[in-house]
Each structure stands twice: as C-alpha cells, then as structure tokens.
C-alpha cells in the first residue's frame, strides 16, 4: 500500500516538474540571462530567491533551468531506449549473420568506457546541449541492445509468434504487434532508470563544465554559486535551490523506476522467509 502511495507521489512530482518547465515564461517575468538589478540581493519582493553575482534573478534561472536539465535527461534516455529497442528487436528476431555481426560489434564496444569517450568527443566537437544529449543517447544504447535482444530471443520462440507466422503475418507486423508489446515493460523500466541516470549525469557534466557557462541549467547554477563562494558568504538561496531541484526529480524518477522493477522483474521481488 505504502509502495503505491510512494509511486503516485513520485509521478505527481514528475508531472509538476514538467509543468514548471513548460510554463516557465508564465511563472517569472525575467529571462534567465537578463540582468535585473543589483547583484547578490537577498530574497524579497520581485526576486523570490534573490539575485546572483551578475544580478540575474535566481528564481528565473531555476525555472528556465528545468527546461534544459529535463530536456537533456529525457532526450538522451529516449534516444538510448529507441535505438536499443529497435536494434534489439530486429537482431533478436532475424538472428543469423546480422545478429552475429551486431553482437560481435557490441562485444568490442562494451569495454570502451563511455563517460571519458563522451568527454573526448565533446572537447573535439564543442557541441550544444542537445547534441551532447543525442551523443549520450547513442553511447548509452549499447548495453540496452543486449538486454532487449535477450528478451526477444525467448519471445520469438513462443507459440503466438509461431502462430502469427503460420497465418502469414509479415515480419514487421510480428515485430511491432507481437514482440514489441511483450518487451514494453522492460523498455519502460529502462527508460525511467536511464532518464534518472542521464539527468543526474547531465547536471554533473555541466557542473564540471562540459558545455559553455552561458547555458543556464541547474549544473551551471550550482557550479557558479559554489566557485563564487555563495555558501561561504551565507547566501544559501543561491546554492541550495538548484541542488534541491535536482534531488527532487532524481528521487522521483528513481522511486518510479524501482516500483516498475519490482512489478516486472520477479528476480528483484521481495521474498519472505
């Protein structure tokens, strides 16, 4: 029962974040990069969370920052899941030479650490936030292909797939109507857990300076405040809000992910002695 409550609260939190990101211009009159007044003002009328060292409104940065942070997390996760699902289904279903080639390629790419590769590629291309998230989606899809493929291999052996083939259904029909719905729980689980990981990763990467500092997201906000000594000056309203914002969404996604996992993955299920 309490598990269910936790799940629904998490979903509500997630929806609230998405709503805030979508309605950013309605919530605040300032643009996140606009200089709105004196620097380092305390919270008060006009500036609910005060201003930063450049005189930008912190509340506006927080609200607009949600857009970039969420976009990064969801875009990367969506791309990763799309690639791993489609490739996994196709190679798992057809098998043969195609499966052999892709599986061997994955074996070769598996030990290559993705995080430093991402950093090298970013240093080389100096891409924008969206490109980095696409890059991360591609790099992050490799492991998922294996998981989906393994699922498809067992589904392809079942009677209903045999039956569909016997009545002359096309391969595309079988893959999209019979196999896809059966791997969907795993796909959803992967999507939620990778959005959480990618989102936190995105904030971390912007914290260490992966993209230029003019992009306003929670990572750069934390980095600015931390390196300019916001906390040492006692300006908690500068450092804490972006951090708490990250923790909120990350916790909500993590809890949704675990609820899914408990429901669909019997191995993680709790067994009583």
């Amino acid at each position: 029962m309490s598990r269910k409550i936790i799940l629904w609260v998490s979903v509500a939190v997630l929806c609230a974040y998405i709503a805030i990101a979508l309605c950013a211009p309605l919530l605040t009159p300032y643009s996140p990069t606009e200089i709105t007044g004196a620097a380092l003002q305390s919270p008060g009328a006009g500036h609910p969370l005060g201003t930063n060292d450049l005189g930008q409104d912190i509340f506006s940065q927080l609200v607009y920052g949600a857009r970039i942070t969420l976009l990064f997390g969801f875009c990367s996760a969506l791309l990763a899941v799309l690639i791993s699902t489609s490739v996994g289904i196709v190679i798992g279903y057809y098998g043969g030479l195609l499966d052999e080639i892709v599986s061997r390629a994955i074996d070769i790419f598996m030990p290559i650490p993705m995080f430093p590769l991402l950093i090298v590629l970013t240093a080389f291309f100096s891409p924008g936030v969206l490109q980095i998230s696409l890059l991360m989606g591609i790099l992050g899809s490799i492991y998922g292909i294996r998981i989906i493929r393994a699922q498809v291999l067992s589904i392809a052996q079942t009677n209903f797939v045999e039956g569909a083939r016997a009545i002359g259904a096309s391969d595309f029909h079988i893959m999209s109507r019979h196999i896809l719905p059966n791997v969907m729980p795993v796909v959803m689980m992967k999507f939620v857990s990778s959005s959480q990981r990618m989102l936190v990763m995105g904030v971390g990467l912007s914290f260490i300076g992966l993209w230029d500092t003019t992009t306003v997201d929670w990572g750069t906000m934390i980095q600015n405040s931390y390196t300019s000594g916001g906390m040492a000056l006692g300006l908690w309203w500068w450092l804490l809000p972006p951090g708490i914002a990250v923790i909120g969404i990350s916790l909500a996604l993590a809890l949704i992910g675990y609820s899914f996992e408990e429901k669909f993955n019997p191995r993680v299920g709790v067994n009583r002695i």
């Binding site: 074996d107 070769i108 790419f109 598996m110 030990p111 290559i112 650490p113 995080f115 430093p116 590769l117 950093i119 090298v120 590629l121 970013t122 240093a123 080389f124 100096s126 959480q196 936190v200 904030v203 971390g204 914290f207 260490i208 300076g209 992966l210 934390i222 931390y226 906390m231 040492a232 450092l239 951090g243 990250v246 923790i247 990350s250 916790l251 996604l253 993590a254 809890l255 675990y258 191995r267 993680v268 709790v270 067994n271 009583r272 002695i273």
Partner: protein, 327 residues
C-alpha cells in the same frame, strides 16, 4: 574451468576494443581544426620562424602519409608516447601516471572499505529480505544513490570543513609544505573526507549487487537442503549462502576499480584533489584534446584489463561457469 579457446577469443575482443579506441583518438587528433603542431606551438609561443615549425612537423612525423602516421601512432601508444598536452606542455603519459598515483591514494582505501561495508550490509539485507530492517535500509540506499555525488561532496565540504572546521576545505596538503616538505599525516588529514565520501558511494553500489545476489541464492535448492538437514541459520548463511552470493561481487569489484577512475571526477573536483579526476575537469575546461585522449586511453585499458581479470577469476572460482559457449 576456463578454456584456452575462450581465453584466446576474449583476448581478441579486448585487442579489438583497444584498437577501436586508438583509432578514434587518432582520427580525432587529425580532424581537429588547426593541426596538432600549430595548437601545440600556440601554447608555447606565437611567433616562431617557419623553419622551426617545419622542423617540428618533421620531428613529429606529420609530413608522412596518413597510413604511415597511423602505424607510427599505434606503435607510439604501445610504447607509452602519448603526445604532448597543450595546456601543460609536458608529455601526456608522465602527467597521467603522476596524477594516477594521487588518485590511488583515495581509491585503494575507499574501494576496500566500500566493498567490505557494502557486502556486509547487502548480505544481511538480502538474507532477511522483506523484513522491516531490510526495507528501511533498501529505501535509504535508493535515496542516497538518487542524490548526485557532487552534491554530497559540496554538502560535506560545507558542513564538515566550512562550518564545523573539522577538516580542510580541499587540496592535498597544507601551506606548511613550503617550509617543512610533504608530510604523510597532513596528506591523510586532507584525504579523510574524500575517502569517506567515496567509500559511501562504493558501499551503496555494492549493497545492491550483494542484496540481489543473496536473494537469488536463497531461492536455490541447496539452501533448502541445508535447512532440511537442520543446520542452524547462521551456519547456512556463512557456509552455504555467502560463498555463493559473493561470486557476482568479483565482476563488480574489478569493474569498479576501472570505472571509478572516472567516477571520482566529481569528488576530486570538489575537493581539489590532484588526481586523474581533477585533471580531467581541468583538461575539459581548457579543451586540451591530447590530454583528454590520454585519459580516455588509460581508462579503456583499465576497463579491458578489469574485464579479463573478472572473467578469469570468476571461472577459476566457480567451475560451473563454463565459458566458451556464450561468447
């Protein structure tokens, strides 16, 4: 037992992975806007005579055909000549090796402690899974993992170093190094907080693996048999369940050692600890491509080695793992 055939296959894949990584770094260096030498000399001085520049080109072999350069590059990588950093103007390899030893000062104690704590907690939690204590611990672990590492690090610096003043704010030594040289107690004093945080993270990661592994071992028939024989629960836990549940930990542990080189980027950055992590952040801020590529190659090499070690170890320990079929 591990078959020679399997080992040979594994070595081939590892070789291929390293080869792919080296090829990526080679092409990125060559596709870079402006070439390697121009960028490198830029960091030294802007106004060099043309002859000197040409001499550098010749010295670095950049006047050779691309295929020859490629072969030269691979042989250089294998011999430890990893190019020169733009920002530091020193050989990448020696820089990385120096920083790596500083990272290991944090990594070795944190990994050992983290594995011990994570394994013990995970085993207890998995053994009594579904109990009140297990669920409480499990939920706490989810919450800990959901909060980003750098946020924990920032909060730890703020609370323990800035407000309580128990530990230094960062760095690896006090200013006294200028007069009295480097002292080990002083370095340890600076290392306590980052080590504690890293231990914390490694332990939560291991907790999950150990808990899941324990839960699946409990379902095995030999545990039921042991119970049917009337052995006491403690004996079953230590002699039957734990030994088998520890198996996945070998893979995880070797992997962690490789992955954590990058994993502690955040902790080293927040604590200004002069290891590979901080080096990565600095190289990234300065867009120092040769240095970043060196770090990437090092990490690839460590990951590949870890995978090999994990495979061989787990097949040596558990003869049921029959390798050679599934790869």
């Amino acid at each position: 037992m591990i078959s020679g055939n399997y080992l040979a296959k594994r070595l081939c894949y590892s070789g291929a992975a390293f080869f792919v990584s080296v090829t990526i770094t080679f092409f990125l260096l060559h596709l870079m806007p402006g070439d390697y030498i121009t960028n490198y000399l830029l960091s030294l001085t802007n106004a060099l005579p043309k002859e000197t520049v040409m001499q550098f080109y010749h010295q670095f072999g950049l006047d050779l055909p691309l295929t020859e350069q490629y072969l030269l590059y691979i042989s250089n990588i294998l011999q430890g000549h990893w190019g020169y950093s733009y920002a530091y103007s020193v050989p990448v390899f020696s820089l990385i090796v120096e920083k790596l030893s500083w990272s290991l000062v944090l990594l070795i104690p944190a990994t050992i402690l983290g594995i011990l704590i994570g394994t013990v907690l995970g085993a207890r939690s998995g053994w009594k899974s579904g109990g009140k204590k297990d669920l409480a611990l499990f939920n706490i672990m989810i919450a800990i993992r959901a909060i980003p590492e750098f946020w924990w690090a920032i909060m730890a610096v703020m609370v323990f170093a800035f407000y309580l003043k128990w530990f230094p704010l960062g760095g690896y030594t006090s200013i006294s190094i200028l007069t009295s040289g480097i002292s080990i107690p002083d370095v340890l004093y600076h290392a306590v907080l980052p080590i504690a945080l890293m231990t914390f993270f490694i332990a939560t990661g291991n907790y999950y693996v150990m808990r899941n592994s324990m839960i699946s071992v409990i379902g095995e028939e030999y545990i039921t048999t042991a119970r049917a024989k009337g052995l006491d629960e403690r004996g079953i836990l230590w002699n039957h369940a734990l030994k088998n549940a520890l198996l996945p930990m070998i893979t995880i542990t070797t992997f962690q050692f490789a992955a954590i080189i990058m994993g502690n980027v955040f902790i080293e950055t927040v604590f200004s600890w002069p290891g590979i992590g901080l080096l990565t952040t600095e190289a990234l801020r300065m867009r120092d491509l040769p240095l970043l590529e060196g770090i990437f190659l090092l990490d690839t090499f460590l990951s590949i080695a870890a995978m090999l070690v994990a495979d061989v170890l787990s097949s040596l320990i558990d003869p049921r793992i029959r390798m050679g079929k599934d790869v």
